[in-house]
Symmetry: C2
């Protein structure tokens, strides 16, 4: 259980379809490559009770990590810290380390703009953290990311601006995940399949997965039936690169043979 994840993305702009959730894809892809397993992605709007409810549900599923994106900035609809405090039943308080980070940022900005920037309530809000939470430096923007914990899970709250989210994730979050998930690697190959339609292929893939445990084969039609053009992804999670490779290659061999017996053709596909 130490390498399971949930991703919780906060923002009305996602619920109205103004933007695509590229943050969730980027994080899910990164976590998977590190050997972690994402169990659920949730999007809710900028509403404290909706966010707190989603967080409580995630906590009840006891994933090792809950990553949130969005809602850390200075505007009225940045409500993540309020919601984390609510979900963890802790008070919000001015965090000295976070305050120092925010102050330093504005001092840098003052040097650049040659203009006094007051620490208004909106700006101080970025240093208001749930009790016992820890700020994580933001190398790109102003609002620090935040680490909070309950008995079973670590909540990592990241900004929604992709450049800030990615910079913090790579600098500070990845080392944490690597330590906990280093026992797993993901090994995958992809195949292009022609000459056989998905509904004919389905029972063959079932057979492969029955005979070679821990291998996962997913087919994606690349044209509507009856045009027989598909992509296959053969994936496994293993404790070593060699084990993963051996298992996937055994599955690949069996798949290619079964498809050939049914009049189809396979070719390797670059990932």
């Amino acid at each position: 259980m130490s390498d399971t994840f949930e991703i919780l993305c906060l923002g009305n702009e996602l619920l109205i379809g103004k933007i695509v959730n590229s943050n969730a894809q980027w994080l899910a892809n990164y976590i998977t490559k590190l050997g972690g397993k994402v169990r659920r992605i949730t999007v809710v709007g900028d509403d404290i009770s909706d966010i707190a409810a989603a967080l409580r549900e995630s906590l009840s599923r006891k994933s090792a990590f809950i990553l949130t994106t969005g809602g850390l900035g200075p505007t009225f609809d940045d409500k993540t810290m309020d919601a984390v405090a609510t979900a963890l039943e802790k008070p919000l308080e001015l965090n000295d380390d976070a305050l120092l980070m925010v102050k330093n940022k504005y001092q840098q900005y003052e040097k650049v703009t040659k203009k006094k920037i007051e620490l208004t309530p909106a700006r101080l809000k970025m240093a208001q953290l749930p009790k016992d939470s820890v700020p994580i430096p933001n190398p790109v923007g102003t609002a620090p990311a935040v680490l909070s914990t309950d008995a079973a899970s670590t909540i990592l709250s990241l900004p929604g601006v992709p450049s800030e989210m990615k910079a913090i994730f790579e600098a500070s979050v990845v080392p944490l995940i690597r330590r906990l998930s280093r026992t797993h690697v993901v090994y995958e190959i992809s195949l292009r399949v022609t000459g056989i339609i998905e509904s004919e292929l389905a029972p063959l893939l079932d057979q492969v997965m029955r005979e070679i445990p821990d291998v996962y084969v997913k087919s994606h039609p690349r044209a509507a039936e009856p045009i027989p053009l598909l992509e296959l992804h053969v994936t496994t999670r293993a404790t070593s690169e060699k084990d993963g490779k051996d298992r996937v290659e055994a599955a690949e061999k069996m798949i290619c043979q079964l498809i050939a017996e049914h009049g189809g053709k396979t070719s390797p596909l670059k990932p």
Copy 2:
């Protein structure tokens, strides 16, 4: 409550970040333009108990519509109907109308391919629906979409392949939504703001939203602080186009004035 929605996307490929969730964005955007309100987007993998749990949670929140994408095809990991049946506590059974749709598709494919296509168990699976559910024709692919209901919600299960999902949504789902949501329109304008940073702008936007009820103003930094470049979206939901326009234009006027008083500049932004 008759125009609230949840979107539930099913597929391991989303949880490993192989693809971005463009289906959720497309649906959320379409629903918003129709006047509906999306409250939550959830992604879970191809696991019956995970899908059924997510469905039960959605049903407990009593949104009028729950749209699912993915998991309707012939392969072993297409588990949506199983999960809907589990969540609604209904048996799965062969649906005669769905069977007719699937048979007709394969007869068409036989004409094109001049090859006999058997109705294997994998193919018949696409006609196995929860008791009392109704199939919806798929003008593009093979698997029908499915309408299921409980006391408070309508579950609409759509395929995950975007071309099939969109075709069914536009042909069959939109008329249903339009009827229930015709009392609301969404009106929005966008502004480009320079010369003022987000943390300075935040209290001004709070003031606008306090003084003009039902208007929602969201700021998006387009550069890291201290570079003062932002986009503003001013949105309202109203019972007529005119009401929406009046309200948003009053907010726009106030925003432009406040920003000018603080040394910033605004210009209209094409949506």
